[in-house]
Amino acid sequence: MKFGIEFVPREAYWKIMYYVIQAEKGGFSNLWITDHFNNRNVYATLAAASIYTNRMTLGPGVTNPYMVNPVFTAQAVATLEEMAPGRVVLGIGAGDKTTLDTVGVEMRAPLVAIQESIEIIRGMLNGETVSYQGEVFRTAGAKFLFKTGKIPVYVGAQGPKMLALAGRIGDGVLINACHPRDVEYAVSCVKEGVKQAGRKLGEVDVAVYTAFSVHQDLKKANKAALPPVSFIVAGCPPQLLERHGISVEKAREIKEALKANDWGRAFSEVTPEMIDAFSVCGTPEMCTERIAELLKSGITQFVVGSPIGHNVREAIDIVSYEIMPHFKK
């Protein structure tokens, strides 16, 4: 199993690059950089990472076709491929509705939009002249004036239909889940898509993209996990909350607190059950145990995602030298 790591470029580029270099030294094989308009630009960050690394595979995790037209996404990853030949992947998903609403962009027909954008991107990367008449996207003779290589496409997915689409057309899937029950269900949906397309599951890199927090002191690990878990709970569909025995009313209260920028109230409402359901969090031993459980579902990549830990530098070392060795057999 491979280990990937995700960074949110909300800090100065040189801090992120310090962690990126550290992660490569520590044995992480994949680097994912998030794409949010309110943080540093994903491709500028990836370009820097391509220079400061030699081995890691890297790509946006994930971009979306609403904020960035697929033609420009193809151009960005193709340019990156020139900087890091054979090391670039593309993660693409439907995006976050709240973020899209902020900039007045409609999330139209997500399944169709992802399928169409991948077709356009692959055509462009193959050097074709792409004339495409889709339901969401259209091109009329779009073509690069430079050559590029093949770039694997990962579909970011959470719901059953998107997961199945990832199984049908993705080179990989980035499953947005943390609990073994959710991951097992997600992998079964990917398998369904793989079957529909007459493919084999081995053709798809099944990556689980987690909210991760590790520290020797459980309280510190939990504290670092509160912000991402509160946001996940606030945006969670009721069925998923119920599957984990989490009160929908409680989730609504957290959402309201976040909306009011009352972080203290929002974080204080997060329960241990929520942390268990929506993050991989705890001491190194607890995290190792959880990863081992997730591995049984058939995942091929475990992505250590934000917040990573109370102290990011320490947490990267814990994963590299205390957790990863358990899975290097």
Partner: protein
Amino acid sequence: MIGLVTVSAWQPLSDKLVDLILTTKNDEKMPGGLARSILHLWQQDSLASKPGLAVLLEAAIKLEPERTMNILSELQLRALESKIKEISP
């Protein structure tokens, strides 16, 4: 100035300065060239060497002067502490 630091203190000083630099809120005070030097030396595993400590110390003083002096005091690097005080404006 790093000559004032005993070799046995290089690693702990490097670790503490790196932590300080990574946790500072004064990101905008970091000069671009200095950031690139730090990253280059980090790639070479040389942040606990003389050139590594020199760039870390320079950055730490620019970003967090007070916290830097506290680190030197904590590690009992009196000679370095005095030298910095002497040349500081």
